[in-house]
Amino acid sequence: MTTLKAKDYTTDQDVRWCPGCGDYAVLAAVRKALPVIGGAKENQVFVSGIGCAARFPYYMETYGMHSIHGRAPAFATGIKLANPQLDVWLVSGDGDLLSIGGNHTMHAMRRNVGIRILLLNNRIYGLTKGQYSPTSEVGKITKSTPMGSIDEPVMPLALALAAECSFVARCLDIDAKPLGAIMERAAGHAGTAFVEVLQDCNIFNHQAWFHASQKDTRPANTLQLVHGDPMIFGVDSERCIIRSQDGLGVANVADVDAADIVVHDETNRTQAFELATMRYPDFPEPLGVLYVNADRPMYEAACEDQVARAKADRPADLQALVHGPETWQVT
């Protein structure tokens, strides 16, 4: 197989996002990551719902489907059922996958359908010009909430964990390398891989993640998770996560015993849940792979297996089928 380059993944369609949109960075990162991950372009399918983020497939020189709002996980499931060998990526927005599409997302996860989901979370409805989304913070003033929104935001990672999603990760839009690395792991994962990408909507929710994404804010406000490593962050790695009676807390490295710093264990679902429910500014924003469960059976494989067993069990005799259990002759 010839090695592919990012530009092999570039279609002839002009990219139509706003200048400065975080989606550009993600697109570039994905185009770059795929050749590294490998696999044939013709076996890759990008599926999306509706939204700015959901325009993604048009820009990927693979097979692609820009479907309808919120239903991408269902389309992706159908694609996998029809052909489990395909490498199916789902890219869509927070409104798409968590508001109208929350249920399909959740059910795909609990079934462990082998799709890799990149949820581009800009905490806003971009394409419809700026209503609050299910991840918008309480009090957010938008076109549809002139007095501030009153809906507690969804915790995407926590929901994924409760839905037994077997691969849960988080990344910044502008972090091409970590995103590539996570994608690589997601691609190798047997089951639903969920990656929340914190994405900047330059127009309607600019700087939503600046507390975590900027050179000067990142060290203090993000926690880079590495399996087996203690959870330390801060400009001078001076802050850490510890556990108390009330659950996780933030402390100064200097004030605690090294042994008391919580060590990241990506196989520990409860701890992942604690990470998933941490909220800025009380906590840093966790980034990296939160949770991996490599032991869950893959849905489409189980499905294929039943078909195979059914075939082994009885011949596919259409004549016999139509004939049925009981017939009679008219002469």
């Binding site: 489907m65 059910h107 008219v330």
Partner: protein, 629 residues
């Protein structure tokens, strides 16, 4: 006691042509089983038949209540018949509730076999009778019907008592006793039932003792008829003069499963059936889930929307995507069907219609989703719409649906209904070889020099190439935004949009080229055409026969293709002075005909949660022929 070959009794049975029997009892009484087995026996005897199971929306309402009554009607005949019968000749009423809810359907003079032991105070009260007034003693009713009280429960309890089985197990055989009694009455052999009992209980469940218990009940029923002389005479119905061949009994939902599976094999493609359970379509999901060996994958989705989306996804990936539901579910699928119209992928959507609107009457049939099937999507989103006319017709309709969906790369809605789905009739096995293969080609090469254009159309079918993921060089993107002709790129150009709207309509119309011309039956020289669609075919045929017999010959025709209509429909309509359209809705086909052909069709419309009765159809048509309804 009869031995295992039927011993003729003293008086020879009286030959009759045509009989309808209804077994009615509590949902827990096994009426569907008794009725089904009686039908099987009847089939083996060579009668034509049609059945109609009628069960409540509740699973198993409290015993003895009227809303817990479950019925199974079988109409059998030495002639060709098409409906389960308007009225019944014999009613088996296992309790007062069954008596109460079914007695009105017995023809005057008809036989009512009632389990008198259930007509005690408690039973009467549960059924909503005054506890002291036993309807079996009602003189009015006795004058109208031949009411035969049978000490059914008592005999079963006494005859079957043994040390190995508790009262509950014993009393579960009541339905089989009733079956034995009716077998005696119509001189049906017991062997098929005995074989069946041995098979299901003995072989499959390893409970030969239960099989034996039931066989004893069966014989006890027969013997009761033979010895008690409560009815007096017996009847026999000679075999019907059916076309020679091998026959089986089939219900609509079974035939749909077989048809879809056969279509997948004829297309040599895997099929994905994605569905969400809903009465009366669930049995198709159940049936399809047993077809895995034919490369059929089933997916019970989280809802109807996910189901249709998964089916579309499957089609995109190269399987034949099929989804099935009933009316409320079809409403939910509208948006995704619109996408399928835009993606131009094959998709079959089965709608087993039930009484509406909303949850409506979930177990009852109605033909009221036709306009929803035509128009239940945003924008100009034409699809092909087909309807099955009878249980066995579901087989052919399913194959036709897959053929058209793959030929024209479009959604095809198949309409069935609760009566077709659950009703059964004899089916002469099709010659599978004679069914033409469904030709599908997935392109493997660019279609324009070096370039692949996903929206370049076939000039005959109007369809676009079905290139599937996994094919190198044909990578392309599809989506719900308007697409540029040929390239399929997103395009907001007005003229392109108009051209694409026309193209999507044109390819649906292109199906007319392969739709057979209308067959007009009955008296084709009559000035009146009865035009039907869907599950009313049987009743229309019988009504037309009756009208002819009564000196009012009419022509009749039936539509399988509702969109597009057969190309000659306009001409056919124009040949008649009067077009009468019977529907179990408020006139939906009539509406389409009026709009399409400006044909002043007259409706005969009944919306009573059941299929047409032949008699009401005869009357409705007669009225329509006299003045305008």
């Amino acid at each position: 006691m009869p031995d295992s070959t039927t011993t003729p009794t003293n008086q020879p049975p009286i030959a009759v042509d045509d009989v309808a029997v209804r077994f009615a009892g509590d949902s827990g009484d096994g009426m569907q089983l008794a009725g089904g087995q009686f039908t099987a026996t009847t089939a083996l005897v060579g009668n034509d038949f049609a059945t109609f199971p009628d069960y409540p929306a509740e699973i198993r309402a409290p015993r003895g209540t009227t809303f817990g009554v479950s019925g199974f009607q079988v109409h059998f005949s030495s002639n060709t018949i098409h409906t389960p019968g308007d009225v019944v000749d014999v009613l088996v009423a296992m309790n007062p509730a069954a008596f109460k809810t079914n007695i009105a359907d017995v023809r005057p003079g008809g036989i009512v076999l009632a389990d008198e032991d259930e007509f005690g105070k408690v039973g009467l009260k549960k059924a909503g009778y005054e506890p002291d007034v036993n309807p079996l003693d009602d003189e009015d009713l006795q004058r109208r019907y031949r009411i035969v009280p049978v000490p059914l429960s008592r005999i079963v309890r006494e005859e079957l008592a043994d040390d190995d089985h508790g009262a509950k197990e014993v009393m579960r055989c009541r339905n089989i006793f009733a079956l034995g009694l009716v077998c005696w009455l119509y001189d049906r052999p017991l062997e098929p039932t005995i074989d069946h009992l041995n098979e299901t209980f003995g072989v499959k469940k390893g409970r030969q003792d239960i099989a034996d218990l039931n066989i004893r009940a069966l014989r006890a029923g027969w013997n009761f008829g033979e010895t008690a002389e409560l009815v007096g005479e017996r009847y026999t119905v000679a075999p019907a003069d059916l076309k020679p061949g091998t026959y089986r009994r089939i219900s609509g939902n079974e035939a749909m499963v077989l048809g879809l599976t056969a279509a997948a094999r004829k297309a040599n493609k895997p099929m994905v059936y994605a569905s969400y359970p809903i009465t009366p379509a669930s049995d198709v999901l159940h049936g399809m889930s047993g077809m895995k060996r034919f490369d059929v994958t089933t997916f019970q989705a989280e809802d109807e929307i996910a189901a249709v989306c998964a089916a579309i996804g499957a089609s995109f990936a190269g399987s034949i995507g099929v989804t099935g539901t009933s009316g409320p579910g079809l409403a939910l699928k509208g948006e995704a069907m619109g996408l399928a119209v835009m993606l131009e992928l094959p998709l079959v959507i089965l709608d087993v219609q039930r009484g509406g609107p909303a949850t409506g009457m979930p177990t009852k049939p109605e033909q009221a989703d036709l306009l929803q099937a035509m128009f239940g999507r945003s924008g100009e989103a034409p699809v092909i719409v087909l309807a099955a006319a009878s249980p066995s017709d579901c087989f052919d309709t399913a194959i036709e649906a897959v053929r058209l969906a793959t030929r024209h790369m479009c959604p095809v809605i198949v309409l069935s209904d609760a009566a077709i789905a659950n009703g059964a009739e004899p089916w002469k096995l099709p010659d599978l070889e004679a069914i033409e293969p469904i030709e599908i080609t997935h392109p493997t090469e660019p279609n324009d020099g070096e370039v692949f254009h996903p929206y370049m159309r076939d000039e005959h079918t109007g369809g676009r190439p079905w290139a599937i993921p996994g094919t190198p060089g044909l990578e392309h993107r599809v989506g719900g935004l308007e697409k540029e002709a040929v390239t399929g790129n997103v395009c907001y150009d007005g003229e392109n949009h108009e051209a694409m709207v026309h193209a999507r309509q044109a390819k649906i119309m292109a199906a007319q080229a392969v739709i057979p011309p209308i067959e007009v039956g009955g008296d084709t020289t009559s000035d009146t055409l009865i035009l039907g669609w869907g599950g009313s075919r049987g009743a229309i045929l019988e009504a037309a026969d009756q009208l002819s017999a009564a000196g009012t010959p009419v022509a009749h025709a039936h539509l399988r293709h509702l969109n597009p209509f057969p190309a000659d429909l306009g001409d056919v309509l124009a040949r008649f002075d009067r077009v009468i359209v019977p529907e179990t809705n408020s006139g939906q086909l009539r509406f389409l005909l009026r709009a399409t052909y400006l044909c002043d069709a007259i409706g005969v419309n009944v919306m009573r949660g059941r299929s047409f009765q032949v008699q009401e159809l005869v009357e409705g048509i007669t009225r329509a022929m006299e003045g305008k309804s």
